[in-house]
Assembly symmetry: C2
Homo-oligomer: 329 residues x 2
């Protein structure tokens, strides 16, 4: 089992990525290939005594595709970037799974056009994993790969989510909901009205519309949505939580009395933050392509990368892709 990791993708590249890959190697006994500037990678590995074992591979390139590059440049001018070469390792079967914290757009383009879609899949989609208050998590799919969706795409997202949750997470009959502006069948815009009708007749365990007010409670295993709404929802949960936690923090700093109170509850408040921290869960699998591709959060630290690699291993070892293929057929 070998995972190829784009060592130069993400806000904290390369150090946190390399460290995360090392932690994953140590914890899960996985072989690692790193792509990116070999001088820097080797220097980092040596200086930090990261022992990757005998079958450690570094694929050298100075080029990096950034958030500001057009995603489609992964196919041509940036095909030799750290991400481009990581895709190269994956499609040439020199790696079983792919992890990158780099440009989401480039991962979606590379996944779709280099790794290629599973036969019958209209459009691959990113399945984000969001934390629920009870310490569990739920899937939000699509979280942003496809801004414009058709009802048939949403129906396929549900089938792919179902296959992933069953095979990777071991949920026997995942509850799947449609993100909508009311619980009634008659609610929503035309896209969601039509998607509802398709999902009603789908083989998945469709539990109906989910209102966004209920979503953060983790009321189902997968929330199906178009990539525009999914991306708005994902970032709004982040923004709302950050805003509220910042206000609470300012309360705790307001006076000596409040600072004292803060000390008394500090560890418990930290445990809330930990529960609601998506880096604990892993990255977002790109579902619908022929090999396991995991998009880690751009701000991933070593722990988040380690968790994304754990997820990539599980994605590869349980036949999600074969299962998606069967269920779509």
């Amino acid at each position: 089992m070998r995972v190829v990791v784009d060592a130069f993708g993400g806000d904290n590249a390369p150090f946190e990525i390399i460290k995360g890959a090392y932690l994953a190697h140590k914890s899960y006994n996985v072989s690692v290939t790193l792509t990116g500037d070999a001088d820097i990678i080797n220097k980092t590995v040596e200086e930090n005594s990261f022992d990757f074992g005998d079958d450690f591979v570094v694929v050298d390139t100075k080029d990096v595709i950034s958030m500001h590059d057009e995603p489609t440049t992964i196919l041509k001018s940036h095909s030799g970037s750290s991400m481009g070469l990581a895709f190269n390792e994956l499609v040439n079967d020199r790696a079983d799974a792919f992890v990158s914290a780099g440009s989401t757009g480039a991962i979606v383009v590379g996944g779709t056009l280099i790794v290629k879609r599973i036969k019958g899949v209209k459009r691959p989609a990113l399945a984000g994993m969001l934390p629920a208050p009870d310490g569990s998590h739920y899937m939000l799919m699509d979280m942003g790969a496809n801004a414009d969706c058709k009802p048939e795409m949403l129906a396929q997202f549900a089938i792919m989510a179902d296959a992933y949750l069953k095979n990777v997470e071991g949920i026997s009959n995942p509850k799947i909901g449609l993100l909508n502006i009311g619980t009634e069948e008659t609610k929503g815009d035309q896209l969601h009205l039509d998607a509802y009708n398709l999902l009603k007749n789908s083989p998945v365990n469709f539990i109906g519309n989910i209102e966004s007010r209920e979503m953060p409670k983790g009321v189902c295993d997968a929330v199906i949505t178009d990539g525009f709404t999914g991306n708005i929802a994902l970032k709004l949960i982040e923004g709302t939580s950050m805003t509220l936690l910042k206000m609470i923090k300012s309360v705790f700093l307001k006076s000596i009395k409040n600072k004292l109170a803060a000390i008394m509850v500090k560890s418990d408040i930290s445990s809330i933050k930990k529960t609601m921290d998506s880096s604990e869960i892993g990255g977002a699998p790109l579902l619908g392509v022929r090999k396991p591709v995991i998009k880690a959060h751009g701000s991933s630290d070593a722990k988040a990368i380690m968790n994304a690699i754990r997820q990539a291993i599980s994605f590869s070892q349980n036949d999600v892709i074969g299962n998606i293929s069967e269920n779509l057929g």
Copy 2:
């Protein structure tokens, strides 16, 4: 200045609605018309010594349109409901403004087809007022009147928002953003790409795309969006805040030490809740119709109704509707 209030709309009707109307009468010296079961209204007024003055009017009806009724029934089978008769008072010039905490759908249908659109308006929209952490607030429009939108509708929403913020809130040059999945001009689905282009050439102070992560911070005066996304966003902010506050509350109840800490910060935490409480701000104006219509939150208490009536007075006294008409022309 007379406001007609649907005394039987909303979760806390009729008591909180009647009380809120009384508080508004007392605070703002506004004449009030209440619609609904006259026996219950008069009994409530008497028992609580709500002195509405000499020009108090009650329009009697036993019928109420509920959340479960088809919104279009406001035009026929429920035209004689408390909401229907309130619209009747408004369009027959026996009231200057309308407030209801009842069915949003029925208010939109009644506003559009009984009160009627301002000439040139494609579709009226609900302008929600959301609290910002600094104690100010911002507008989210459309928050759910139109699930399916066209780019031209979003451009009109911006013009209507601009007129309201200038005239009612006295903001001289409101900053108006488009809710989107990236700040760049090239981001979003086709609807938002096209809307961006229209807004760029609009007379309003368009500051570009706003990511949902930034929205809760109150980075602009009005966030323009389609009613589907707006409704998802509105309820997601509510759901995320509720979930997080519940988790924090459970921390404060966890041990005697934590309970003690809770006592120490209680009033400051309450002031956060008050800052983030949308009932402090008022209701959502339905912009684009010929007379002032305010939709109060379904869970409105007396204070929220009082604030919605204050807003209705200001909406009526400042020529928002004339201004919208001019700017669209």
